[in-house]
Every structure is written in structure tokens, then in C-alpha cells.
């Protein structure tokens, strides 16, 4: 089949190495964030993407860089890293420094790189979903063939605005992918305890939106499915719901220090076997694409790279006190003083 041939083309050694590097980079970046958080270098709420890397990496590869739009919730570090943002500016933002993408105004939950099509970075569960609809609405209005990927969690899938947006996306044929990242937990609440029907992809069906569930722990599967879905949305100018089954290995956020409250060690061990990075390593070893030594060398290289990124971000000063008044409005300053 022609489709298969195209796929094999995507699975070149160079492509696999690229995926490996991207996933491992995110993993090491997030681990560094965890360390920095414990050191008090990062504050507030911080949510890492450890375990879920294949989803963002696979989807990102299916998008047109600098053209398509991406929007997500607060678990947002990997997106700008994949979309070409300066990783030092991402880390500096997470650390609340002036060198951050938003000069420290957003923080971990609110990373944005608008120029690159990354629209954040939102903290109200479900709140960004109509915004995603608006990005797609804007693209369609202007006659541009951009695709918007709107990520949301399994927990977010219960919010009212999700259904409102699904309806309008279908009603107005908006070119948007609702990518539900089902990592089986909304904070400490397991899927079965928060969703009447745990097959979340079905939420598109009442609106006549094409919907399906895919495996989010295998980067090649994600790429394959994402490419097909992105092509469909771009060509047909219609929305799509895809439920991506993945799993987070860390706690919900840096402040979640007792995962035993909602899941067992045994369960975590079973899911650890689905680790997307190990999965790709196994495949590359089987196909003789990369040796274990090379993998270790790459890991070392990326670990050093992340270290250097962190050092540079840490060297960036905190914003100046007067900046607190900047960017409240585009054209005027708010009243000053208490």
C-alpha cells in the first residue's frame, strides 16, 4: 500500500534518531525541572511530561512547523521545545526570569511562543479549549490551511466548554484536532471515577465528528495516526477527536508527593514497561539502527545540553520591579502603587 511505503520512509534511521533525541531531551529537561523545583529554583505549580513524550513528539512531527497552531493546558513544557523555541527561554520562563519567553510573567503553566504558533500554556482546566476553537476559526476565516491541535486531558474532557466547542467546531467545520491525552488520571482521580463513559473519543460522536482512540506510548504509531489525522483535517477542513492513551510517570505536579493515594507501585511498574523511550530503544536495537553505546552517548550529550540550558537560564536575572506594570494593556499603564 502506498500509505505503508510513506510510513517506512518516515522510519528512516535518521528519523528514528531524531525522535529518540526529542523524547530523551524532553525527559532530561523535565527531570532537571524536578530537581530545580526541589532546590526552590522553580515555584508554584509545575507539571512534567515524563512518560508522555511520544504523544507530543509524534504529533509535532506531523505538523507544519511555523504554520500550524498548538494549544494545550499547563503540562506545556514539551510543546515549545519541539516547535523550535529557544530552550533557554523556556527554562528561564519556568524559573520566572527576565530571559523567559514571557519575561517571567507566565511561568511553568503559561509558556507561550506565539511567533512559532504555540499558544500556551493555560491553567483553568478546560478553559483553553474554546480558545483552540478560536485559533481554528481565525485560520479558516482568513482562508489559511493551518491545522490547530488542541491538547486536553482526560479530566478536562468533562468540562462544559469542551462540549460547547465540539458543537461549534462541527457546526462551522473548524480545522481543529481535539487531542485528548488520556493518561488515566485527573490529578488524583482515576478515569473510572470521573468519566461516565471512559472511552473519551466518543465525545466527538454526538456532534458527528470523526473520532478514534490511539496508542500514545509508541512514537511511530502516534506519528502514523497523527499524519493521517492532520492530513484529513487540513484537506477536509473538519474537526477531529483523537483520544491518545498515555501515562504520566511522575506525580500530577511537583507538589504531588504521594502517588500511592491513587495508584499502586505495581500499577506503575506495569506502565513503566510502556515507556516510549525504552520502546524506541528496543526497536532500534532490534533493527540494528543504533547501538546501546550510541544511545548512552546521546543521553550524555543531551544531559549536558540540558545542564547548560539550566545554567544559562539560571544566569538570567529576575525581571525588574517596574515590569510588573508592563503588558497589562497594549497601550496604557495601570495605576501605580498600592
Amino acid at each position: 500500500m502506498a500509505k505503508e511505503a510513506k510510513l517506512e520512509h518516515m522510519e528512516t534511521p535518521a528519523q528514528l534518531e531524531e525522535f529518540y533525541r526529542q523524547m530523551l531531551f524532553i525527559r532530561r529537561f523535565e527531570e532537571k525541572c524536578n530537581v530545580a523545583y526541589r532546590l526552590g529554583k522553580i515555584g508554584g505549580y509545575m507539571h512534567t511530561y515524563v512518560g508522555m513524550e511520544a504523544t507530543a513528539v509524534g504529533f509535532n512531527a506531523a505538523l507544519r512547523r511555523g504554520w500550524d497552531y498548538v494549544i494545550t493546558a499547563y503540562r506545556d513544557h514539551p510543546q515549545p521545545l519541539l516547535m523550535g523555541s529557544d530552550p533557554v527561554a523556556v527554562m528561564a520562563e519556568i524559573m520566572g526570569r527576565s530571559g523567559g519567553l514571557s519575561r517571567g510573567k507566565g511561568g511553568s503553566m503559561h509558556v507561550y511562543d506565539i511567533e512559532r504558533g504555540f499558544f500556551g500554556g493555560w491553567g483553568i482546566v478546560g478553559g483553553h479549549i474554546p480558545l483552540g476553537g478560536g485559533l481554528a476559526f481565525g485560520a479558516k476565516y482568513k482562508g489559511e490551511d493551518r491545522v490547530t491541535v488542541c491538547y486536553l486531558g482526560d479530566g478536562a474532557a468533562n468540562q462544559g466548554v469542551v462540549f460547547e466547542t465540539l458543537n461549534m467546531a462541527a457546526l462551522w467545520d473548524l480545522p481543529i484536532i481535539f487531542a485528548i491525552e488520556n493518561n488515566e488520571f485527573a490529578m488524583g482521580t482515576r478515569l473510572e471515577y470521573h468519566a461516565a463513559d471512559t472511552q473519551l473519543y466518543k465525545r466527538g460522536e454526538p456532534f458527528g465528528i470523526k473520532s478514534e482512540r490511539i496508542d500514545g506510548m509508541d512514537v511511530l504509531e502516534v506519528l502514523k495516526d497523527a499524519s493521517r489525522i492532520v492530513d484529513y483535517v487540513r484537506k477536509e477542513q473538519k474537526p477531529y477527536v483523537v483520544e491518545i492513551m498515555n501515562y504520566r510517570f511522575n506525580g500530577h505536579g511537583a507538589a504531588d508527593n504521594d502517588r500511592q493515594l491513587y495508584r499502586t507501585k505495581e500499577e506503575e511498574e506495569i506502565h513503566a514497561k510502556r515507556d516510549p523511550i525504552i520502546r524506541l530503544e528496543t526497536l532500534m536495537l532490534e533493527r540494528n539502527i543504533m547501538t546501546r553505546e550510541k544511545m548512552e552517548a546521546i543521553d550524555e550529550e543531551l544531559t549536558d545540553q540540558v545542564e547548560a540550558i539550566y545554567e544559562k537560564a539560571d544566569a538570567s536575572p529576575f525581571p525588574e520591579a517596574h515590569e510588573v506594570y508592563d503588558n497589562v494593556y497594549t497601550d496604557l499603564e495601570p495605576e501605580k502603587g498600592h
Binding site: 497552531y69 494549544i71 523567559g100 519567553l101 514571557s102 519575561r103 517571567g104 510573567k105 507566565g106 503559561h110 507561550y112 511562543d113 506565539i114 511567533e115 499558544f119 500556551g120 500554556g121 493555560w122 483553568i124 478553559g127 483553553h128 479549549i129 474554546p130 480558545l131 483552540g132 476553537g133 478560536g134 485559533l135 481554528a136 476559526f137 481565525g138 485560520a139 476565516y141 482568513k142 462544559g160 466548554v161 460547547e164 466547542t165 458543537n167 461549534m168 457546526l171 508592563d326 503588558n327 497589562v328 494593556y329 497594549t330 497601550d331 496604557l332 495601570p334
Partner: protein
């Protein structure tokens, strides 16, 4: 000065929107029943036929959803005007307005902006009862990142709506059902705009400053006329723009009259009039001969029975009585 035409407040709004639609391809209007049905208060009458469904978007009844879509679209360069069938329904979109629209420019460190207008009638119409009668401008003015305006005249409705559409920030544009039929002279000029952050003196006086916005400015004008018969020379100050606020004009008026009263239709307790009274008391304390007083809406859900409803809303008699009570 260009020529003027006499228009109702409603027609002034309509004219402003049509001209902005003509001027800028990225301007569009969204809302419930604004297109085929011609708008609940007929502000968008005729527009669907003229501009079609791409520019005049009939939405489902999902205030949070379509407001969010408008915000997202604004982030990529469209300039949506969202009509709230009544401002009461904007309560359903509060999360989108307060926690999204108002935060975008700040949280992105200036990378993105939200050129969005949310407009619609706020305040009492006639016997719409408790759930359809709200003055929410004080809530919105409380939120950094939003601009909030409340024009009282047809000319300001026209000029301020144009300014709102051209503004790169989210603007809450509150109308009042009681103002739609009020007529006034409007400059016949495509580029007539009224800047935000400028209050205006609608009637000069020396004894007391009556400060208000939206329909209460019309009430204040009538009260001033009534009080003139008693020899009380009232200055009528129209705030127009709540955020940004033109404190200077308000203060200058108080420094002249030495007495002030703030009149607002919203619930008196904790409303925007309280903010005005507090800040003017601080800044003008030495110039005042009496505390700044307030006349506000009764602190009750607005009832249905017409006599009770009227009881709730400050009217000319209430203002006149309150002024007399100041001695």
C-alpha cells in the same frame, strides 16, 4: 466640525459597527440571534443580509464557548465584536473573559493581544426580573486587563464603539436597554472616535458634581434640570470610561463645586460607584465641604412587579431628594 445627523443610541451603535465592518475585513460580529433574527434589541438589524454569515455569525447558546472562540480568533488577528444578548448572560462567560481574555497580553509578556469587544445591554429593561437584570460593569472594571466603557449618549455610543473595535485590548462595552431609543446628534464622520479614559462635563454647574455613567447620566441631567428650579446649580459629569478612568476631570469638577454625589444603577453595595466615591474622597478631601455621597440601586435581586422594579432603580426623584438631603 463635521456635519451631524440625529440618531438613536441604537442606530448609532449599528452605524458604528457597519462602518467598522466596511473598514476592516477582520472585524466580525458573533452572538445569539444577531443574524437571521436581527438581534434581540435590533442593534444588528439588516446586517446579516448585507454582510452574510461569514461576518455576522449566529452562535449557539453557549456564552462561554463562543466568547472563548472569539478570544482565540482575536489572538490570531481577527477583531470580533461579541454581542451578549444581555450582559446578564456574560456571567456564563466570566471564566473566558476574566481568566482568559484579560490575562493573555500579560501572561504572554506582550506576545499576544486580544482585540475583542464584548457589548450588550446591562441594567434594567422593563420587568425582565431578577435573572435578566444586572449591572456588571463594576465587576469587569475590577479586572486589570479589561477596558470598560459605558456611554450615555448617541454620539458617545457611536464614537466609543469605533474606538472599542480599533482597540487592541478586550473591551467591555455596556449599553443600557433604556438608552437604545434615546436620540442625539452624531457626527457624520467615518473616523469620528471618542477616546477612552476621558470623562466629560455635560452640564456645567457650581454647587455640586453629579457623577454617573450610562443611563444614570441621563437621569443626572434631568435631576440637574429639576434642581435648577430650586436654584441649585448642579454640574453633570459623565464618566463614560470606567477603565481607564479619567480621575482628573472628576477631581477638577469637585475642586470647583466642593460637593459630589455618585449615581449608579448597580447594586449600591460594593459597586463601581463605591470605588469612585472612595478614590475621590481620598484625592479631594481638602476640597470637599461634605462627604461624597452615593445613590445606587437597591441591594435586592430585581423584582418583576413594575412598581417594585422601579423602586430598585435610582430615578430623578431619588437623586433630587438625595441632593436636597445633603443640605
Amino acid at each position: 466640525m463635521s456635519a451631524t445627523v440625529e440618531l438613536s443610541y441604537r442606530d448609532a451603535l449599528s452605524k458604528a459597527m457597519a462602518e467598522e465592518l466596511d473598514r476592516d475585513e477582520n472585524v466580525l460580529i458573533m452572538g445569539e440571534d444577531i443574524g437571521r433574527y436581527q438581534g434581540t434589541f435590533r442593534v444588528t438589524q439588516g446586517m446579516f443580509d448585507k454582510y452574510g454569515p461569514r461576518r455576522i455569525v449566529d452562535t449557539p447558546i453557549t456564552e462561554a464557548g463562543f466568547t472563548g472562540i472569539a478570544i482565540g480568533a482575536a489572538m490570531v488577528g481577527l477583531r470580533p465584536i461579541v454581542e451578549m444578548m444581555t450582559m446578564s448572560f456574560s456571567i456564563l462567560a466570566l471564566d473566558q473573559i476574566i481568566n482568559h481574555a484579560a490575562k493573555v497580553h500579560y501572561m504572554t509578556g506582550g506576545q499576544a493581544s486580544v482585540p475583542l469587544v464584548i457589548r450588550g445591554p446591562g441594567g434594567a429593561a422593563k420587568q425582565l426580573s431578577a435573572q435578566h437584570t444586572h449591572c456588571l460593569e463594576g465587576w469587569y472594571a475590577h479586572v486589570p486587563g479589561l477596558k470598560v466603557v459605558a456611554p450615555a449618549t448617541a454620539a458617545d455610543a457611536y464614537g466609543m464603539l469605533k474606538t472599542a473595535v480599533r482597540d487592541n485590548n478586550p473591551v467591555i462595552f455596556t449599553e443600557n436597554p433604556g438608552l437604545y431609543t434615546v436620540k442625539g446628534l452624531v457626527p457624520d464622520d467615518l473616523d469620528f472616535t471618542v477616546p477612552f479614559g476621558k470623562a466629560q462635563i455635560l452640564k456645567e454647574g457650581k454647587d455640586l458634581s453629579l457623577i454617573g455613567y450610562s443611563r444614570m447620566t441621563q437621569v443626572n441631567l434631568a435631576a440637574a434640570e429639576a434642581l435648577a428650579k430650586d436654584g441649585i446649580d448642579v454640574e453633570v459629569v459623565d464618566v463614560r470610561s470606567l477603565a481607564p478612568l479619567d480621575s482628573e476631570t472628576l477631581e477638577a469638577s469637585l475642586r470647583k463645586t466642593h460637593r459630589g454625589m455618585v449615581v449608579y444603577e448597580d447594586w449600591k453595595f460594593g459597586g463601581f460607584g463605591a470605588e469612585l466615591a472612595a478614590r475621590l474622597s481620598e484625592s479631594c478631601f481638602d476640597d470637599l465641604d461634605a462627604p461624597i455621597t452615593r445613590v445606587g440601586g437597591l441591594n435586592v435581586p430585581t423584582p418583576y412587579a413594575r412598581n417594585l422594579e422601579l423602586e430598585c432603580i435610582p430615578d430623578v426623584d431619588d437623586v433630587v431628594a438625595a441632593v436636597r438631603a445633603m443640605g
